[in-house]
Amino acid sequence: MIFTELRFAAFFVLVAGVTWALRANGARKLWLLLCSYAFYAAWDWRFLSLIVGSTLVDHLVGLRIHASDDARVRNRWLTLSLVANLGLLGVFKYLGFFVDSGVELLGWLGLDVGRPALDIVLPVGISFYTFQTMSYSIDIHARRLEPARSLLDLALFVGFFPQLVAGPIVRARAFLPQLASARRFADVDVRGCLVLFLVGFVKKAVVSDGIARSVDVYFAMPDVFDTGSTFLAVGLYAVQIYCDFSGYSDMAIATAGLLGYSLCLNFDFPYFASDIGSFWRRWHMSLSTWLRDYLFIPLSETRWLSRAPILALVITMLLGGLWHGADWRFVIWGGLHGFALLVHRGWVRATPSGWRRARWLAVGGTVLTLWWLGLTWVFFRAPDIATALYVAKHYLLFEAPGNVTLGDRMPWVLLGLAVLHALAWRRVLAGAWDRLPRWGFAVAYGSAASLVLTMVHPQAAPFIYFQF
C-alpha cells in the first residue's frame, strides 16, 4: 500500500477516525501500532517478524545499557544491537551483492566459481527502520537518551506507518517524548497538513510519475539520442527523484501530523543550494544528519582517522551511497559526492569568506552544483555501470552520437516546473490557505483535489526509494 493509492485513503480515514475517537493514550498507541503493522503486512506479512525482532532486541539492549555503568558491559550490549541490525541489512540487502562481487573478483583472478542461487527478497523499509533502531541504542549508550520504559512506545517509534517504509529517519529523542501523553487535536494544523499532503501527492503522482516515462525511454537506449536529449533526460530524472522522494516525505509528515505527531523536515529546496555542502544540508536531511552523527563524527574521533578527517568523510559518503542500494553504481554515486565535498572543503579554506558571499558566486555555484548533481544522478538511475559510464561520458563531453530527440516540448515542461519550484522556494502563496474562511478552504481543497486527480496515472508506480 502506498500513499497515492485509493485504498490508502480508506485506510487512513479509518485509522484517523478511531485514533481521535479513543481518549486513552495507551489505547491510541496500541491502535496505531496495530494499524502500522497492518500497513506493512499489506506488502508482505512475513517480514513483520523482522521489525518486531529488531524492536525486541533494541528494547532489551536499551534497558541493559542504561542499567549498567560498566563501559565493557555497555559496549557489549551496543555491539549486540549493531550486529543484529546490520546483520539484517547484511543478509537481506547486501548478501547477494557481496557474493556477486566476490565471484567476479575470483573470476578476475582466474578462479571460475559458480554463483550460488540466492533468491532473497528485500524487505520494504529495512534500510530505514534498522537505522532508527540503531540510533536509539547508540543514543542511550552515549547517554543522550533514556530508554523507553514501554515496549509499546518503542514499537510505535520503530513501526509508525507514516515513516516506516521510506522515512524520514526519525530520532527517538524527537519522537518518544511525543508518545508520553495523549495528543490534542487542537494542536494540529489541519489545513497545513492537508495542503502539504496534496502538494506531496502532486509531486509524486503527477510530476514524478509523469516524467518517469521519458526518463525510462532514454535510459533504455541512450545511444540513439542526441546531446540535448542527454541533458534533458538527466534534468528530468533530477526532478523525478526529487519529486518522488520529497513528495513521499511531504505525505508522510502530513499523515503523521493529522494523527498528532511531528516528523522532521526531510528536504529544504536542495536544488537551490549554492554548493555541495549546502546541498547535503537540504537533501534527505534525516539521512545526512544520521550519517554525520553516527558515522562521520565517531569515525573522525577514532585514533586512526582523527588525523585524516578527509578519509572519514570519504568513507561516510561511500557507505552512504551503498545504503541506497546494493550495487557499485551507488558506491560510485557516493564517491562522486565525497569527492565534491572534498573539493568544496578545499575551496572554502582557500577563499576569503567575503568572496563567498558574492551573489554572482552563489549563482555560479548553484549552476555548478546542479551540473555535478546531474552527473551523480546518472549513476543513480542507469540500469548498470556500462550504461552509466556511457551516459556520463557524453554528459561530460557535451556531445552524444545519436540523432533522435527525446522531446521537443519537455524542456518547456522542465522550465515550467522550475518556475513553480522557485515560487515555492520564495514562499509565494505560503500560508494563503490560512486566510480563507472555513467554507472557502473546503471548497478550494475539494476542487483542487478533483483537478489534481485528472493528472494522475491510474496505475500508481511504486516510490523509487521503496527499493532502499
Binding site: R183, Y261, S262, L406, R438, W439, G446, S450, L453, T454
Partner: protein, 389 residues
C-alpha cells in the same frame, strides 16, 4: 512549518457539526468540479462507444440498433440487413453499435446512453449479452474503458450482481474492490487530463504523428467499413496496426481444430442420438441464473420498453458452446425474445471453418450468412412480437 504545536490552539477548534459540514462541503466541491470536468473534457481514449454515440448524434433516422460485443461489431452488416428487410416489404434503417468485449453491465450502460440521445425513429434494439459481465480480471478496473461505464447506477448493479454470485466471500470482496475502484476513478476523472496532455507533451514530432495516425486508425475501425459501425475481421486485419494484427493473429491459434472437433461432435451426437457436448466435453448446460442476473435482463428490457422501444436479444455462433446467459433468461421468462443462432445442429455452416475467423468470430463470408439468418429471424419475431422467434 510546524504542523503540530500548541500555537495552533489559538485558532480554536471547530465544533463537530461544523467540521462535518466542512468535510461534506469539500466533498460536494469535489463532485461538482468532477462533473463539470466530465462535461468539458473530451471522452477518454479507448472508449469506442463514444465514437458510435457521436455518429448517432450526427446521423438521425435509425430505427433498428444492434447493441453488443464483437458478436455484433464483427458480424452484423447493417447494409445487408436493411437490404433483406426491404426485400421482405418491411424496410429498416439499422446501425451497428457493437463494441468489442462489451458485456451485460456495459451493455446496460450503453443502452441508457443511446436512449438518452432521444432518437424518435428508434423502434427496435437488438441486444447481445453473452454473459452478465460483472467479473473484472487483471488490471482492467484501472483502465479508462472500464472506468467510463462505472457510473452510479451501473456500479450499484455490479455490487448487486457480485453480492448475489455463487462465489466465495474472498472472491466477492475482491470484485467489489475492483468495481468500487473503477467507480472512484470515473467519479474522480482519474487521469483524464493526463491522457490528453501526455501524447502532446512527450516525444518528438515523429512520435506524435505516429500517435495521431494510430488514433485515427482506431476511429476508422470504430466507424466501420462503410461508416455504419460494422467492421468484419477480414477487413479489420487490413486496417489494423502491427500490434493489433499480432493480437488478432495470436487469438486465432488452434481454433480450426476446435471448430472441426465441434462439428465432428455434432455429427457423432446426431448419429448416436446423445446430447451435444461443449468444447470441454461437458454437456451443454443452460446455467441457473441468480435473482440479480434475472433482474439485469429484466432491466435491459424495461429500460428500452419504457421509452417505447421494443427489445429482442441475439446469440452469435460460438465454437465453445459455453455461455447461455440469455438463453437461460428466455427459459425463465424474463427475456421477450432471442434470435438464437448459437446452435451447431441447426446452423452447422456458421461453425464451419470456411465461415469463421476464430473460435469466437465469423469471417466476412460467415458474417454475411449470419446477417441473412438474423434478418430472417428478426422478421419472423417482429411479426409475432412477443411470441417465440
Amino acid at each position: 512549518m510546524d504542523l503540530v504545536s500548541a500555537t495552533h490552539r489559538a485558532r480554536g477548534r471547530p465544533s463537530l457539526p461544523a467540521a462535518v459540514g466542512s468535510v461534506l462541503l469539500g466533498a460536494l466541491a469535489f463532485l461538482v468540479t468532477g462533473a463539470l470536468l466530465r462535461a468539458v473534457l473530451p471522452p477518454p481514449p479507448e472508449t469506442p462507444l463514444e465514437t458510435k454515440l457521436d455518429h448517432l448524434r450526427e446521423h438521425r433516422g435509425y430505427d433498428v440498433l444492434f447493441v453488443g460485443s464483437s458478436s455484433v461489431y464483427r458480424h452484423v452488416d447493417p447494409a445487408l440487413f436493411d437490404e433483406l428487410t426491404a426485400a421482405a416489404g418491411r424496410p429498416t434503417r439499422s446501425y451497428n453499435l457493437g463494441v468489442p468485449a462489451m458485456s451485460g453491465l456495459e451493455t446496460l450502460h450503453a443502452l441508457r446512453r443511446v436512449l438518452d440521445l432521444d432518437l424518435p425513429e428508434l423502434r427496435w434494439v437488438v441486444l447481445d449479452a453473452r454473459h452478465p459481465g460483472y467479473m473484472l480480471a487483471g488490471e482492467n478496473h484501472l483502465t479508462s474503458r472500464v472506468a467510463s461505464w462505472h457510473d452510479l447506477p451501473t456500479t450499484w448493479w455490479a455490487v448487486r450482481l457480485v453480492a448475489d454470485a455463487p462465489e466465495t466471500v474472498a472472491w466477492k470482496l475482491d470484485q467489489l474492490r475492483r468495481h468500487l475502484t473503477a467507480f472512484a476513478y470515473r467519479t474522480g476523472n482519474v487521469g483524464r487530463l493526463r491522457e490528453l496532455l501526455e501524447p502532446r507533451l512527450e516525444g518528438n514530432p515523429q512520435s506524435r504523428a505516429e500517435h495521431d495516425a494510430e488514433a485515427e486508425a482506431n476511429r476508422v475501425m470504430e466507424r466501420g467499413r462503410a461508416g455504419d459501425g460494422f467492421a468484419p475481421l477480414d477487413w479489420a486485419m487490413g486496417q489494423a496496426t502491427a500490434l493489433q494484427q499480432r493480437f488478432l493473429y495470436e487469438r486465432r491459434m488452434g481454433w480450426e481444430a476446435e471448430a472441426d472437433e465441434m462439428l465432428a461432435g455434432v455429427e457423432a451426437a446426431r448419429a448416436g442420438g446423445w446430447p451435444l457436448l461443449d468444447y470441454q466435453g461437458e454437456p451443454r448446460a443452460v446455467q441457473e441464473l441468480t435473482e440479480a442476473e434475472r433482474d439485469l435482463l429484466r432491466t435491459l428490457v424495461a429500460t428500452a420498453e419504457q421509452r417505447g422501444v421494443s427489445v429482442v436479444f441475439l446469440n452469435a455462433p460460438d465454437v465453445r458452446q459455453k455461455e447461455f446467459f440469455v438463453r437461460a433468461g428466455l427459459r425463465d421468462g424474463v427475456v421477450p425474445g432471442l434470435l438464437d443462432t448459437d446452435d451447431p445442429e441447426l446452423y452447422p455452416a456458421l461453425f464451419h471453418r470456411r465461415n469463421r475467423f476464430d473460435r469466437d468470430h465469423l469471417n466476412e463470408a460467415g458474417a454475411a450468412l449470419y446477417t441473412r439468418v438474423l434478418a430472417q429471424r428478426f422478421l419472423v419475431h417482429e411479426r409475432t412480437a412477443g411470441g417465440r422467434p
